[in-house]
């Protein structure tokens, strides 16, 4: 979408998105996901133009090991919400995502109800070389979705690298889904994920598993007690539910709203979002400053060798940095 007169183009896009035009929303998201500098500039201007219309959604990050039932949970929760009159956007951060498919996050084929729901908008993870790049695009996409009228945004991720931290840093509430295993499942988790959680929800509390699910919940509760809560106004609850039967889904949302109410009352939600915005700025800036390393052909060729030499202890890190800086001309 070449922008011959950018301010006009941006106004046009902003108006269409604000009126809920889903086609334009999708095109604008493609702008965000583009690598072209002119697209990037238009996307930034568009976000700025739509800024007053953003921020009103409940933003929930959802993570859990493969097989825990994230898609089924999002489908059940999302459908309950659209049934209540909400407009739900489902996004994803998956750094392993590739252009030609491969990411199973925010996958319509795994969310049978939402995929056919006019009040749900599902967008798979952007493909990108870095987590920082993927997260940045997802955040901008979230803002556009909010401006388009979505008042609930669910951002799905899976435990790859630092993706949970990135998703927790763009949402108001971070939900960790667990299977009804024993306490050692918690130990198997990546460091830091448990402490990010505003709630732990044990899925598959149905049929013969109900007892195991409740026992697991009790163990997770004990573990959470040891770790300091992130806010003085919120103690992360541990609950059980079943995405299959729907039991407990409404309670999940009730907890999310309770959290929101408490954090809005204390001013913490606003403060947290402000801090998130500033971190977004610095992260995007870092991506921008590092871009030449990924696009410059000489550097791209040299970097793996330099990294290997440093890893092997043959090249001092400081000396490697000097070489790279010289190649960059800085």
């Amino acid at each position: 979408m070449p922008a011959r007169n950018e301010p006009e183009e941006v106004s046009r896009l902003a108006r269409a998105i604000g009126s809920g035009d889903r086609t334009v929303l999708s095109r604008a998201i493609t702008l965000i996901e583009s690598k072209r500098a002119d697209h990037r500039r238009t996307a930034a201007a568009l976000t700025q133009a739509l800024l007053p219309a953003t921020g009103k959604a409940v933003r929930v990050g959802i993570t859990g090991a493969p097989g825990v039932g994230k898609s089924t949970t999002i489908d059940a929760l999302g459908s309950m919400l659209t049934g209540q009159g909400h407009k739900v956007a489902v996004l994803a951060v998956d750094p392993s995502s590739r252009r030609t498919g491969g990411s199973i996050l925010a996958d319509k084929t795994r969310m049978a109800h939402l995929a056919n729901d006019a009040n749900a908008f599902i967008r798979p993870s952007p493909a990108s070389g870095t987590l920082g790049g993927v997260a940045a695009k997802t955040r901008e996409t979230m803002l556009l979705c909010e401006a388009a009228g979505h008042d609930v945004v669910l951002v799905e991720t899976v435990g790859v690298g630092q993706s949970e931290i990135a998703v927790a840093d763009m949402t108001d509430f971070f939900l960790l889904l667990m299977l009804p295993g024993a306490g050692d499942e918690l130990q198997g988790l990546k460091k830091g994920v448990v402490e990010l959680a505003d709630m732990i929800a044990v899925n598959k509390a149905d049929g013969d598993n109900i007892g195991r699910a409740k026992a697991a919940a009790a163990e997770y509760r004990a573990a959470l007690h040891i770790l300091a809560p992130r806010s003085p106004n919120w103690s992360p609850p541990v609950v059980t539910y079943s995405a299959l039967t729907g039991v407990g889904i409404a309670e999940l949302w009730a907890h999310i709203l309770d959290h929101r109410k408490k954090l809005e009352a204390s001013g913490e939600l606003g403060a947290r979002r402000g801090e998130q915005r500033v971190r977004w700025m610095w992260t995007m800036l870092e991506e921008r400053l590092f871009a030449p390393l990924r696009s410059d052909r000489t550097l791209k060729a040299a970097l793996p060798r330099l990294e290997a030499e440093v890893a092997a202890g043959r090249l001092a890190p400081a000396a490697a940095v000097q070489e790279i800086a010289d190649m960059l001309g800085r």
Copy 2:
């Protein structure tokens, strides 16, 4: 120290440091801490020249809340080690450090024995604007100290920002010192510090406090059990000791050596150091790429305003980044 013929200058410095010349070591560290580009280049070349002489030390990071007795502990431990024939370097990472004093870390006045010990080298934290900058200089300083013959390096930090993570990422063993309070002291700790620890040592296990210290140790042990250990080859022990009486100090070192033996045998130590070196490279590169933001006068003036506008929700992060990139000409 202008380097008219840099390779000669570097060789001269390298030889002097390798022979244990403490005066030259101090001057070289000043090079490392300098902001000048020529000094930085010389420092990088010096580190490269000395690289084969580095890496042989036991590197221990030490943290704990103010008042826990870090200085007394380092003094007691360091003195025991020099008494055994070791050469001990004491460094510090304190991002709040200023040129005209102010940091109480690696402070000779608080380490009465080591300050007068010919086999101990104490260097306070470099002063710097950023944690990344301070950590980078401390790491390079550590390498020079190792090349100068120090076979034990203790890096002290206090819980400011991400400094513990930085210190854990430059050492082989991360020691967390605690007071003999109850389990809720652990909860009061910053997220992530507990999981970084390779050992928790409860100080002030002397006189009437012995019982409390042991009770606290038991609670910390229970907490550690919930959190997954960082290595399959090491379960972080929780011990009590007294920096005042010296009881338990020898055991601290025995645990550190035990850890080293196990991780060397499994190859984990070498792998960990290789990964650390690569992260050092990227962190230093990031510092380098961000430097124009800190030195360019227009940008330095604009950044606080941009950050405030983003925090307040009036300026979209993407738009702020576009402005900064335009100012940088990138």
